[in-house]
Subunit: 464 residues, 4 copies
């Protein structure tokens, strides 16, 4: 069944999750004026014109997000889907079926590998769950990053054992887990949540080697939402809503066995973590390339409005953003062209994925800097929203914001840049540097996975 | 007379300026809960323990800010005064007598030069004004940057002649000016405002070559304040207040002759602009070096709290901030050591001042990036202030924020970093890149003022 | 006819070009011990195992370099051909049929465009010439960059009219040209030379809008070779030879009409220049990605030899080189995937080509820096070649160069790094920054050719 | 006694050192055409006009290099001495009395500290040696960096115990040492060599904790010289000579007790190493600031010659070099202003010294890059020296190198840039990155020595 916006809205209004936001306890995001925009954002996914296709295996229309990539072409289409949907979303990524499919692809691969080596039956559980997700057209959040406590200690070494999510009880019908995950994106406005390990583990961390899925209204699951700002007052919020993170608390949450996808196989925790990460970084560079258009377009228009589009340093700034956008695309294209196929599923090439992701993390500060250089100080010192609505002040502001374009036109560009830089710049910088893995995470994986043989052979032939 | 905090507060409560903020018209900053913090900030200047000294010429105790620098030692002391006062102000620069003295020193020099060449008597006006400022211990804002319209056109070429502040009427008792200045810092909470030209001018721009001083409550002067955020909810705001900018409108403002310091001498507009800028950039690198301690201290404490102070990439991040702080100090010290003395007044060396300033503008994005790298994504996804006050959520947050230090300690560090980066990062980045002159402004001046002779002589000797 | 190495060597020994090298006039590169290595390098092309394929149109085996790209697949194969042949050549690009084909593809496209608009018959001349080149399996150099005189003046404005190559006489059987081109790579050891305009031109520069081909032994053509160093003493020189540049003088050189491909069509000079440049930059990032393996392999081996492969800063250095290599490949792959097809010929996407090329120019200094950081000071202070052959010193050197590997092994790595950095680093840096176009050239083209519509549409929708 | 050039030349011609160069064994640098230039360089020191002053303590004229710095003024003068002497030396540092005094100042301090704690009498030995050096006006090389073997192993853990210089025998009259030091600058053309430990040591490394001085002709000391190139053919070599490094072998070298300055006090090895390093890095940034004038002057003249001095990217390049030069000076000035005084001797402030040094190491690649960007590809493809002397080719080269200046003038600038970049760029880059300590060395010391208290206090006050 393909859900429509209306069906989704009806479904979500029936879910009772335990949400905390701005000091209040809510049982639905719809109870808060700002969180309501999170639901609006998920609903927008169902309006995206080209979201579904007819799947031959399931004999039904399904979401393209859930199409299992088998080859380069599938990965290229997936890249373009995420890119285009982000543009459709005014530069705001729509994670609602993207991250869930990233996790499911990783689980489909790794569960089969574990089954082969350990004689378990995880794959059929994953497959059944995947099948249900697809046929019910569900939306999913993924909780991976544990709160992690002392960064130099392994899970079992932490002073408080709950600093990584762990199994606290094994029952005949399932397991009970406790702990907390940080940075879970958009859990407040989706149907389900998939939980994955965050790192490689040793045998002492066995209780922490756990992966599973639960509905968002599972008892004991608590979502503490980050500050979202006044969503309705921003251009992007007004048009597209918001995608907030939560600190996600697991307080003795029960998971039935058919939803448990890893249970103690500590030596595969790292593989599952990194396989998911590779898919998700491919997703990341796809949506971030689209997001970059916000900065590119706004900077370009400001340069035009100021009459300085031909100034050399302004052009360099604009090219900085162009290159930021396109190197991410280049990485996604190359990663799609040279996938690694495991268990019949195509994984984006990790070298190109991680290089593009590293560039994305490392250079966003330069994108901000370039944007600020073009924008000028006015975006920081501009009068308040309310003074734009007050005729006594608006007349002055409009008169004096005139440049190569009229004042009213320039005011809107200034306001957008204020939103992208002054209001949101610090937030964007932080998430661009840490979401979907930090620079160090990409560097580690890149150094580890890179094949130096070609270079070493060359040098050895030369020194012969 | 040296003013105390109480005298200042009484004085300011008697001033009726025309202020616009958040859609309302105020006649005093004290009428608004957030702007009140701006007054508090100015008042803090009068509490600064070592603010005054006994001046032999005036035979009275005066503010050290108004001590005319005559040599290296005076400039070194001025640097240290600004640095220390900024630390006293929790990293927030206190502009209230700093920028005014920067302007007055420039006016003392340039007015004498103009008088010599043009037979005018500006110097005595400037001196009398300076004398009154000093003896009444006044606080001053400076309005320099015009709104500027089309950036490629000169003042007189603009489609609207008001896009640079200009003389619209000459009367027997003074002049009348109209136009607008952008980014005027802290005008809402000081006694006076000095207006300076923003650029070099041609004879067609004669009406725009104007400098003067007016009280903040001069009729026709309108201050439209920027968004300040909820000041009382930030660490710095709560402790030290705020220093907001205004869009400053001159709607037929009258200036009596004794307060007019330049009137049509277009060929000195550039000299006045750049002399002020040099003093002010010296001030800038002095307070910014102090401000950098906020990022340095917060990043260091977070690294400690996470248990990663010995990780190589974390150390590199911390060193990035150390170097940012200290290169600014190095520049200030060198600029003070090799001043240019004009008309008996010592100007900080423009080469070292501009190099330090350029570094300050260009590298703050890297300071932010380093801080974010250390801070982690948690500063973007952390729950709201209100959830920290709700016992139901605080217990979880506290439990799960534990790392190498307890949760409560780490929460405060996270909140501070959230303030410095997520809340304020975009704003800081913009002002660090544009306040006191952009990168291009420093580059232009550096290229222009640098003496290439030493290098060219060396090469010519070598090629002989 | 596909030439073999032996046939080529026989042919080249029969050509009498006018060559100047180290103060001597030669009539063949074979007359000089070092230039002989240039011939050896061309000859190596004919040994490359997979150089030819059967061409259906010509019904014969031809060089893959001359395969006209019609689509993505052809461009991908061309990228891989250049990459692999460069690895085969120990990291030294083999330009002998690469640059000529870059020029011919551009001429095939642009001549057809000119013919359509101007009613000329250049295309058939180009096609006939191309046909002969292919069937005789010729090698070609391309001379594009004029010596250019005063950089701010157009060709016709120069004090000496010869500072750009120009037509000095028109005859019934052809034209006579004079002037000089700089940086002509490998002209000393190929069969033919193609001459292209270097920039866009105005109608006043009509005499300079000229393109043609001549044999390397055309009367009046003089090749003044750059310093090559002692080729036989380097690892790369010994194994693969050398590819030297010349200052190429045209002293009244006659060109028959059937070899003239542009004659006065000044408004197409820019199009021809940039079309060739796009092909050639695609070639550039292809060979440079392969060349990067030299630095990557040498740095990796040195890190291993020193026992520091796990040091964080060393890993960062190695990743710098990995990323340099792979971003170039990413760019080539993306450029091949999204070609622009004109007149039936596929041009690599100029956006991706120029981004990759710009990265290649701009970041080679960082590759050198990373390599030096890994290599250590020893590569600058290492004893001479001769002391390695002297038993009295070699025993000490061998004893004291021991590290995580034995001294003899490490000596070779040091010698290679000395060659790549101390001997050749400055030369490589210069050519990596300027060959196939400078940074500014790529920036200009990128800013010009980039389609901002997607970004502007997004922003406009948002501001609606 | 103050030596003159002639006395020095007579002295050096009487010294018989064991030198290996280009496969030959020499007993004096004067026996080789290129090494002769090394002697010439040392001799130039004695021609430097303002080299000596009257020392009150010794009642004689002595070299200013040996003036013990007691305060800021002395350090400022020392900075200026090194800077000016380097300019006098056409940009080539003159190490002949600089590095020796750096070592002696460190030894004067550390020997006194050791004596106080260990009851030894090193200080009097150091003082007597210093006294003799001063009164005989000797020149000195310093050997600090051991060859170091496996970088992760301490001296005593190395597979070959000689990989760090060590005591192999203790006799009643002195000690016998063996091992090798790398990168010893200019040992071939000075009187004496001082040997210092290269790192902190543990008690197991006791035999390696040794410092001493020996004459350059001490039996068993062998100097294997690096490649110098054809010195007489470069501008700098011809005018100023050369300062070559050696691999310095100690093959059972005897050192009498009065020349032994540390013998087993392993816990002070680190202090001695770092104290010397601080002085020497101060020296480094002083001479490097002067050296930067070569690149600055050459780039400026080339920009002028090409007619592009007003192009924005060219100005940015030139400013890059200006800033490189001046940040080093700023660091030296600040380091001199805030010295650390120990045992009555002023040590340059390590924070400012290391920041300036780190900048110097890290940014030279950008100086090279900026220089290449200005210079253009011509410096890599320019004809050979010999072709400039051949009239048949020179006429063409001269005609075609004309730009905004005549061809002959531009040829010389090209040749100088070729020397600085193509010939010497890789060598300069390597030494600028590693001489006087690598980037990691400066970072380690900076992180260790930095006082975070000011920043931490600020943050703690704020969080209170």
């Amino acid at each position: 069944m393909v859900r429509t916006k209306d069906i989704f809205l009806k479904d979500i209004s029936n879910r009772k999750a335990e949400i905390y936001f701005r000091g209040k306890k809510l049982s639905s995001p719809l109870e808060d004026d700002d969180l309501r925009y999170a639901v609006y954002h998920t609903a927008r996914l169902f309006e995206y014109p080209k979201r579904t296709y007819f799947n031959e295996e399931f004999k039904q229309e399904i979401s393209k997000y859930y199409k299992i990539p088998r080859n380069s072409t599938d990965l290229l289409e997936r890249h373009q889907l995420i890119y285009d949907n982000t543009l459709y979303g005014y530069g705001l990524f729509n994670i609602s079926q993207a991250i869930g499919s990233d996790a499911l692809f990783a689980l489909l691969i790794v569960s089969k590998i574990i089954d082969k080596r350990a004689g378990t039956d995880y794959y059929s559980r994953v497959w059944n769950y995947y099948r249900r997700v697809v046929s019910e057209d569900l939306t999913i959040a993924v909780a991976q990053t544990d709160v992690k406590g002392h960064r130099k200690l392994r899970p079992h070494q932490q002073p408080d054992p709950d600093l990584y999510v762990r199994v606290v009880e094994v029952r005949s019908d399932g397991i009970v887990v406790s702990g907390a995950k940080a940075h879970t994106t958009h859990a407040v406005a989706v149907d389900e949540i998939i939980v994955l390990p965050t790192r490689a583990m040793t045998q002492h961390d066995k209780n922490y080697a756990v992966a599973f899925a639960i509905p968002i209204d599972a008892p004991g699951l608590k979502l503490i939402v980050r500050e979202t700002g006044k969503v309705g007052r921003t251009f992007i919020g007004r048009k597209e809503g918001v995608e907030p993170e939560t600190l996600t608390i697991f307080d003795n949450v029960f998971v039935p066995w058919d939803r448990v996808f890893m249970f103690g196989e500590y030596d595969y925790a790292g593989l599952l973590a990194i396989t998911f990460a590779t898919y998700h970084r491919f997703t990341a560079v796809s949506y971030r390339a689209a997001l970059a258009n916000l900065y590119l377009g706004a900077a370009y228009k400001m340069a035009e409005a100021n009459g300085v589009l031909d100034a050399k340093h302004i052009r360099d700034d604009i090219l900085e953003i162009v290159i930021y956008k396109e190197i991410q695309r280049m990485g996604a294209l190359a990663a799609a062209m040279y996938p690694i196929v495991q268990e019949g599923v195509a994984i984006p090439n990790p070298v190109y994925t991680n290089i593009a992701k590293l560039y994305s993390n490392a250079k966003f500060a330069d994108v901000l800097k370039a944007t600020v250089d073009v924008a000028g100080g006015i975006i920081a010192t501009f009068p308040t929203y309310e003074d734009l609505e007050n005729e006594a002040t608006r007349k002055y502001i409009s008169k004096y914001m005139r440049a190569a374009v009229d004042g009213e036109t320039r005011i809107k560009i200034i306001e957008l840049l204020r939103e992208l830089v002054v209001g949101g710049g610090g937030w964007y910088l932080t998430t661009m540097m840490h979401a979907e893995g930090s620079m160090e995470a990409s560097k580690l994986e890149l150094f580890r996975s890179y094949d130096y043989k070609e270079a070493l052979d060359l040098v050895e032939r030369l020194l012969e």
